[in-house]
């Protein structure tokens, strides 16, 4: 027994070290993904008997206008949320100086990312409040009429995304600030000698060196956009009339809220979201694989 261990220690050790992590991760993450996929083929109220109904949930999805609204909002989220990346770059360039007290400014700028999305959501709902919100007080001072951003079907999603961009921009800024720290000063000097400055310098010399930061910023922003839930739940609860729902929120409503207890239908929305996400995860893994193999 002891000699068996001696001889195979190197082969067995990794699996012993991995066992608890793999067990927990499989139990709570990997298996549930497949359970969700399988559940999407059933009709189930969460308590009673599951009935196999084949693709019926998906067929129903095709005719569900709320599903399309949610999908459309997810696309809007994705497109606008990406603005956090250039905005974060801009903020980083603005703050990448060494004047007195700049560290405090950097920390303060980063603030919104540290606080909970629940607080961000509450803060922005009050900020947008049509009667007493600061935004409308300011607008009125400039002679505009107040707008109830979160109560308007056409604006609600954009109002929530603006709130979401606040912490996300701060995150991207930190990524770029760290990236700017490691930009090769010799290349900048060389660029200056070649008379590159301002935008040209940024585009041809700095940005290529910031690629790792840009990659992480895009990855976390896309994932953040597809995971958006907290702000919607806090600020509008999907309203008015379901106009600000996204897929992640809609599936929650279908499963657990008073509209819901349709676990199978909710799972079919989950599968759609997972499908969208797999494209990105595939790209990320491909890049990781390339890096690992050293291409």
């Amino acid at each position: 027994m002891y000699s068996f261990w001696k001889n195979n220690q190197l082969k067995l050790s990794p699996w012993i070290f991995l066992a608890p992590g793999i067990f927990m991760f499989s139990l709570y993450v990997i298996f549930p993904i497949f359970q969700s996929i399988s559940l999407s083929l059933y009709q189930w109220d969460g308590l009673g008997v599951k009935t196999y109904i084949g693709a019926d949930n998906y067929i129903e999805l095709l005719d569900d206008e709320y599903f399309y609204t949610s999908l459309k909002n997810n696309v809007i989220w994705l497109v606008l949320y990406i603005l956090a990346v250039p905005a974060g770059l801009f903020a980083a360039l603005f703050l990448n100086q060494t004047v007195r007290g700049i560290r405090i400014y950097k920390s303060l700028f980063f603030f919104p990312f540290v606080i909970s999305q629940v607080v961000v959501g509450l803060v922005f709902s009050w900020f947008y409040d049509p009667s007493n919100g600061l935004l409308n007080v300011i607008l009125e001072n400039f002679g505009f009429s107040p707008i109830a951003i979160l109560a308007e079907e056409d604006y609600a999603t954009y109002g929530i995304i603006a709130a979401g961009l606040w912490p996300q921009t701060a995150y991207c800024m930190i990524l770029y600030l760290t990236g700017l720290n490691s930009v090769d000063p010799e290349q900048i000097e060389a660029g200056r000698i070649d008379n590159a400055r301002g935008w040209r310098m940024l585009w041809y010399v700095i940005l290529p060196q910031l690629k790792p930061a840009t990659f992480i910023a895009v990855v976390v922003t896309v994932i953040g956009a597809l995971r958006s839930f907290d702000l919607i739940s806090i600020m509008t609860a999907g309203g008015p009339w379901g106009s600000s729902r996204v897929l992640a929120y809609y599936m929650y409503e279908k499963a657990f809220s008073e509209y819901g207890f349709r676990m199978g239908y909710s799972a079919s929305i989950a599968v759609v979201l997972l499908g969208i996400m797999m494209i990105y995860i595939g790209l990320i893994l491909y890049r990781l694989y390339r890096d690992e193999k050293g291409y």
Binding site: F25, I30, I33, Q35, V99, S107, P212, M277
Partner: protein, 282 residues
């Protein structure tokens, strides 16, 4: 350094920059400043619609103590700590083990297991909600602090493994080789050689996971019901529903809810940023 250091520019540009900096910051933090100002107003001001004029009185102590005496906020905060601290410890322990296994050993499925952790970590976690809720019910962990802890540990292990594994890969491998030549067992190598070197990574992950879990709202919604195991995030939202005409108190509650991660960030800024940038952009 890019952009050009401001000291090397014209004097007028320097002045402009020094004025622009505080103004930009105030605009950036305006929504938060508004909440901070509201949180010290009196109920009289709020009820009479005096949100932005001169406050009739500064009720700092009244409001901030009222939040604790008139609502279960203190209890929610306690729950948040009960959820957050075990999660941090559990995720760090599990991911030290997995990160070590994936970072040090060469075996066939190494990259495959690693990719499973990374991919699992990136999924929109809402798709797990129905199965995870069922699992928690089956294990008797639904609506308990431990139910949330177990899920959070499992899910955070994905990200932490990614981080730890990359960190261990960057350590000098000769140390481990040398210990093996000496006949030191693999467990002792892990405990006496690698763990002491992993301290910076553990510190970075601790602050990061603390913040993530403290701020979690979605899983609190899915895995708890009522006040028993409810953390501060969900608690704050339910308070907001009950205290319609008491915005000053909910504002104070929001500030309190935001404080622990903010303190964490200021105290451990270096580690926090090292964690956020995944250690990749050094």
């Amino acid at each position: 350094m890019f952009p050009t250091p401001i000291e090397k520019t014209k004097l007028s540009t320097q002045r402009l920059y020094k004025i622009a900096l505080p103004i930009a910051m105030i605009i950036w933090l305006l929504p938060l400043l508004a909440v901070a100002l509201t949180s010290v107003r009196s109920g009289v001001d709020i009820n009479s619609g005096n949100y932005w004029g001169m406050p009739t009185s500064i009720n700092f102590f009244e409001n901030y103590t009222a939040v604790f005496t008139d609502s279960p906020l203190g209890y929610y905060i306690l729950n948040s700590f009960k959820i957050t601290i075990p999660t941090v410890i559990g995720a760090i322990v599990l991911s030290s083990l997995t990160g070590f296994a994936l970072g040090v050993y060469r075996f066939k499925l190494n990259l495959f297991v690693f990719f499973i952790f990374v991919a699992g970590n990136f999924i929109p976690y809402q798709i797990l909600m129905v199965p995870v809720r069922d699992l928690s019910l089956a294990l008797g962990l639904y609506n308990s602090v431990w139910g949330l802890v177990a899920f959070h540990i499992a899910f955070q292990t994905g990200f932490c493994t990614f981080f730890m594994r990359n960190f261990i890969r960057a350590l000098p491998f000769e140390l481990i080789e040398a210990a093996r030549v000496e006949g030191v067992s693999e467990f002792k190598i892990f405990w006496y050689v690698v763990v002491p070197l992993m301290k910076p990574a553990m510190a970075a992950l601790s602050v990061l996971i603390f913040t993530f879990i403290w701020n979690d709202y979605f899983w609190a919604l899915v895995l708890t019901q009522g006040a028993d195991a409810m953390p501060i995030t969900a608690g704050l939202n339910s308070l907001n529903g009950q205290w319609i005409a008491n915005q000053h108190l909910v504002s104070a509650g929001s500030i309190i809810a935001a404080l622990p991660p903010v303190l964490m960030f200021f105290l451990m800024q270096k580690h926090f940023i090292a964690g956020l940038t995944l250690g990749a952009v050094k």
